[in-house]
């Protein structure tokens, strides 16, 4: 007997035609899967009734373990047990070196830009590790919902760049899943609270998990969430709070810092239990075994605990302040504060966040599950299980996308905060006579010069028919799909030759960097303007030089006497030298000077040109 779910009026699907969909919160420490059933979003537990799946995969010689089983072996078999793959996904080997110093894995040296970890089962990439986690969650959803999933929504941090998003999609594909779309985690949390159906306004999403802290400022504008700013600390979370408590216990009980690893781990567990107990109780009694015999008994009250954790909470509040400043909004403008992540259960965190934002934060939905629930609601809409009048949530590009033009300048095709999917095209032309190839350098960022932006991809369009400079027409199209992935295509319009690129995993970008990039564009606004002027003057100067040299080569001998030729050559030489100098004014002046010196020459060329054109024709033909 099939088990049926209650459908919305008129929405009951034909048998065997249910569109099953799930939302997946693919987390650094834990992952979750949720689905909408009988109009209600809920996270789905496994056979043992556990909702959270530790994001840990262990590779043995003959099989792969995932979740609780794998995480139980983490300390015994650290090299083959991969945790926190999310920190590595979509990153280049060079990034991993700087961020992976705390990671115990053996990274394999490869030519490809994707890092691989050596395990007993062979070398695996972070994408494959994530795929294993997705597979387990998808299977759980299919068992629970009683059928195959038509698609999933997977959440990613708001600061994930194109490479990290692409890598996450690749992981889903590897797991055999159809991805309806990737959704920003803070956006998913806002959806779970139904903020997308409320009035337009600015919301803050405070996400304090086990090992990471993220603050996002979102603006809802006509059903579209824009990410105004993100901030946080990728190494601050509940574990640090446990650590603070553990250190206090060690101090009180007289346990040395260099105690055995096993003792320290037990202490961390005791500390966590104490922390969790203090969410409800005013004080907690501790009974700790001291290494070498004996026990220590003591009491930790809430005031002492608060004093221990306040420095950590202050860090999160400072990040909130910075995020607000980056977003350019005042604290009074924040309509709602959504709490995400298990560590926001701590009353002290709620209190301080409430104090800072001057309003009680939203805590009704389980903070561990809120992101997955929002993803499930989106997945349900995208699967087509909702009436048409439900608006579809849209996302925006976090940074501007553009390409490098002559002189290292950036031409922005898609400005930041453009709603996606989006496609924009612009025509470009050649700089030199007879130019047959053009390099398209795709960059991301807010600065005026390409070297200050992030390089995403570089490709060449070949086969442009030789023409004079400026005659060729090359259309460059930037298309960002609903998942935030960028496809760039360049087409020469007369011959139809094309070249394109899809941005694939290459480099990573941390949340600090992304906010840093935004910040830098404001801080450097003036010098950027100066640089742009200089670069433009240079490009213009070089264009004059190129054109004049081409002309001189063609008819300089015929039209100029030695003295005239020398005057022009001198002016030209002065301009070439001026271009080397970092002063836009000097270049402009010299370029004007060359034009003035050459006036008679240009006139002479025109006359000759007309004479040539008219040669052999009757004057009447031109009337």
């Amino acid at each position: 007997m099939a088990l049926l779910q209650i459908a919305e009026p008129g929405q009951a699907a034909a048998p065997h035609q249910h569109k099953l969909a799930a939302g997946i919160d693919l987390g650094t420490t834990n992952s979750l899967v949720a689905a909408v059933r009988s109009g209600q979003a809920e996270t789905l537990p496994d056979e043992q009734g556990r909702h959270l799946l530790p994001s840990v995969v262990r590779y043995t010689a003959d099989h792969v373990e995932t979740g609780h089983v794998a995480s139980a072996q983490a300390t015994r078999d650290p090299l083959n047990t991969i945790a926190s793959a999310k920190r590595l996904i979509g990153r280049a080997v060079s990034d991993i070196k700087s961020l992976g110093k705390g990671l115990p894995y053996e990274f394999v040296q490869t030519d490809s830009s994707v890092p691989r970890i050596h395990t007993m089962a062979g070398d695996v990439s972070p994408i494959e590790v994530s795929a294993e986690i997705l597979k387990v969650l998808a299977r759980r959803a299919e068992d629970t919902l009683g059928g195959e999933l038509s698609g999933v929504v997977i959440t990613v941090p708001a600061y994930f760049d194109d490479a990290q998003r692409q890598a996450t999609k690749d992981a889903a594909r590897l797991a055999g899943l159809h991805v309806f779309r990737l959704l920003n985690e803070p956006t998913a949390a806002a959806v779970a609270y139904g903020l997308d159906r409320g009035a337009d306004g600015v919301h803050a999403i405070f996400d304090l998990g086990g090992g990471t802290f993220d603050i996002s400022i979102l603006r809802l504008n006509k059903g579209v969430f824009e990410v105004l700013s993100t901030g946080g600390d990728s190494a601050l979370g509940g574990d640090d709070f446990d650590q603070a408590v553990a250190e206090w216990i060690m101090q009180q009980a007289g346990i040395a810092d260099d105690a055995e690893h096993k003792v320290l781990r037990q202490l961390m567990q005791d500390a966590r239990h104490a922390k969790e107990a203090l969410s409800d109780a005013e004080s907690v009694d501790l009974d700790i075994a001291i290494p070498g015999g004996g026990r220590w008994r003591g009491r930790l009250d809430r005031d002492t605990f608060n004093a221990l954790v306040d420095p950590l909470i202050r860090k999160t509040i400072n990040a909130c302040r910075r995020a607000l400043r980056d977003a350019g909004v005042d604290v009074e403008e924040i309509q709602d504060v959504v709490m995400v992540g298990g560590s926001t259960r701590m009353p002290r965190v709620r209190e301080k966040v409430g104090e800072f934002f001057r309003q009680p934060p939203l805590v009704d939905i389980d903070p561990d599950r809120v992101v997955a629930l929002g993803a499930a609601i989106q997945a349900d809409v995208l699967a087509g299980n909702k009436p048409d009048d439900e608006i579809l949530l849209l996302d925006v590009t976090p940074l501007s996308l553009g390409l490098e033009t002559m002189g290292g300048l950036v031409e922005k095709l898609i400005p930041r905060n453009t709603t996606i999917p989006v496609a924009r095209a612009q025509e470009f032309t050649t700089f030199k006579d007879g130019q047959t190839a053009m390099v398209v350098h795709v960059v991301q960022g807010e600065r005026e010069m390409a070297e200050h932006c992030r390089s995403l991809a570089r490709f060449e369009l070949r086969g442009i028919p030789p023409m004079v400079a400026g005659a060729a027409r090359i259309r460059v199209t930037f298309a960002v799909d609903a998942d935030g992935l960028l496809n760039v295509e360049a087409e020469e319009l007369s011959q139809g030759v094309k070249a394109s690129v899809t941005v694939k995993p290459s480099y990573g970008l941390s949340d600090e960097e992304i906010t840093g990039m935004l910040q830098a564009s404001f801080e450097h606004a003036e010098e950027d303007l100066e640089e742009r002027r200089l670069a433009e003057a240079r490009v213009e100067g070089m264009r004059v030089v190129e054109a004049l040299q081409a002309a001189l080569a063609k008819d300089g001998e015929a039209l100029l006497n030695a003295e005239e030729r020398e005057r022009i050559d001198t002016a030209l030489q002065q301009l070439v030298e001026a271009i080397e100098v970092d002063d836009a004014g000097v270049i402009d002046t010299q370029a004007k000077h060359v034009e003035k010196v050459c006036e008679f020459y240009v006139e002479r060329r025109m006359n000759t040109g007309i004479q040539e054109a008219m040669a052999g024709h009757n004057v009447n033909e031109f009337e």
Binding site: M1, I6, A7, A12, G39, Q40, D46, G146
Partner: protein, 108 residues
Amino acid sequence: MGISLTETAAERVRSFLDNRGKGVGVRLAVKTSGCSGMAYVIEFVDELDEENDVVFEDHGVKLVVDKKSLLYLDGTEVDFGREGLNEGFKFNNPNAKASCGCGESFTV
């Protein structure tokens, strides 16, 4: 005769309705599709069709059935059950003579 539901099923329906925030009850119906002739439908009800609907009440839940479906459903008891990880509503229909393997559709 009529339509009834078990205590467990009633509890679930009440909680789903509460969560949804609107709706007067649930509609039970059959439609002619599926691999074995007829298929069950269970939906939330926002508005009654005064002319064609028959309303039963059991365990404080309004069960709405249109007159045509009632011919196929009379005597049915709706239960809420669990099979492994999956859970949902079941129709125990005395009229069904055969149902397809999955039980989503049936013949009378």
